[in-house]
Amino acid sequence: MGSLFALPAAVLGFFVRLGWVRSIALFVGGAFALVATMSLYSGISAYYASPPTVLASAEFHLEPKELALRSDGPFGNFKNQAQLQRGFQVYSEVCSACHSMNFVAFRDLKGLGYNDAEIKKIASDWKNQVPSVNPDTGEAATRKALPSDHFPSPFLNETQARAANNNALPPDLSLITKSREGGAAYVYSLLTGYANQAGYKNEDGKELLKEFPDAKTPTNLHFNPYFANLNLAMPPPLTSEGQVSYADGTKPTVDQMARDVSAFLVWTAEPNLERRHAAGLPVTACGRSARAEDAGEDSPRQGQRRHHWLSATKLLHSATTTTRSNNGWRVAGATVRTTNRRPPRCRDAGMRSYSPQLSIGTRNPGLH
């Protein structure tokens, strides 16, 4: 009879010894771990029972091609104004028929090297006009753009845009390179990546339509392996050489036009990029050189502690010797040294030009 109660009593005793916090913890932790494990088991058995369908895009989607631009990297800038102006020309003659650029104003074109008169002309000649009001009748009307206006949209609203484009909405291009994985390289790859779906093979030699007959391009869409879903609504915008005739005489191949407009779209996404890099240089160089001064020569490692202060080492010295009773101890490790170095001034650190001699403590010249 007693043995019947032995096991439950032992279990109860265990929980009592554990205390109520740990008992609840055991229960809660066990419950979560159990359900997570059940989910794991269910996921694994579902995977082997009915393996998930592989989508065509998984095997045939291509990563963007390489594209080197002047604006790349930590020292990127927009000094290649010739290319940016060509890109703007491609936008105005090809893309602006369908794509708006709502966040860019005509006056921003100054950053591309146009002067005020040129900008005024570009704005007033711009084929899309700005919504306005007829001053006599009060009815809705349009007017020519001014330099202070943002680029007007080619369509009145989303509905009109979709109606003109088989129910697809051409995205605004102001931020396109910032809002797509791959940035400018993606835009460039997309523009030059249209392919014929019939007989299309990926690099493993698999043929798309044989493996995935369902991926056949529907009507009104166009096959482009650089697009995530493989078929996109935009027809190839750059189809032939000479679609745009460049003012500076550069050969307007499809590849060149795509590169130029991609570079331009990096500028529209972030006109302040050059300013950001220019400001970043003195801030980070100043920060590094200040600490380089602090670190100084390698101080011998004594004890377990090593401190890198500059003139605080002087404070340390005076603090330990004057205010503390001498119990025969000293602050472990610090090499008490006085220093005559003055603190570095940030304007020495490279506001004028980036100096390759800046170093971090070890006196090795290097650019970072």
Partner: protein
């Protein structure tokens, strides 16, 4: 004599204490109720206001939607899929055994009588709220020919019932009624 006055004074003494207690409790309760009452508007103001509630219904014109087509409309700022099922899709939906379904429902239960080809459901995946593909031309309709959610791979069949993937329930059917053979009012 002394005991009588002592008794009287004792009685008034305890009475006085009890009255003080009562006054205390009453005053604090009053203040408490008042505070709660003052806080109620601050909490209630967060609920959906009248103008949001007014947008609670939307009318949809069905006349342009041919069999095999669907449109996405906005109702209460959320997408709703209005689809005209083909006879083949209706047959496919009816052929599925209820025991195979995670959330068993027949097509008839999800549509109005006599109008089983009109499938009106929320365009919100019941897993974590993404908008499934399949309503637009050329969109991926998934392995069951209905809707397919690209976020975590939930696949719905032609009656928008969940068949595969993590979503627990079928696409929700909102309240709607036919105000004429070619218009519905949702909500």
């Amino acid at each position: 004599m002394a005991t009588k006055s002592a008794e009287v004074s004792e009685q008034t003494g305890t009475d006085g204490v009890r009255r003080r207690d009562f006054l205390n409790v009453a005053a604090v309760s009053f203040a408490g109720v008042g505070t709660v009452a003052a806080l109620v508007p601050l909490v209630v103001q967060m609920s959906p206001p009248a103008d949001v509630l007014a947008l609670a219904s939307t009318e949809v014109d069905l006349s342009k939607i041919v069999a095999g087509q669907g449109i996405k409309v906005s109702w209460r700022k959320q997408p709703v899929f209005v689809r005209n099922l083909t006879a083949k899709e209706v047959a496919e939906a009816n052929a599925v055994k209820l025991s195979d379904l995670r959330d068993p429902q027949t097509l008839a239960e999800r549509t109005k009588p006599g109008k089983t080809n009109w499938l009106i459901t929320m365009g919100v995946c019941t897993h974590l709220g993404c908008v499934p593909l399949g309503i637009g031309e050329g969109e991926n309709r998934g392995p069951y020919g209905g809707y397919f959610c690209p976020c975590h791979g939930s696949a719905y069949d032609t009656a928008a019932r969940i068949r595969q993937g993590p979503a627990p329930l079928n696409l929700q059917v909102p309240e709607y009624k036919f105000t004429s053979p070619t218009t519905v009012e949702i909500g």
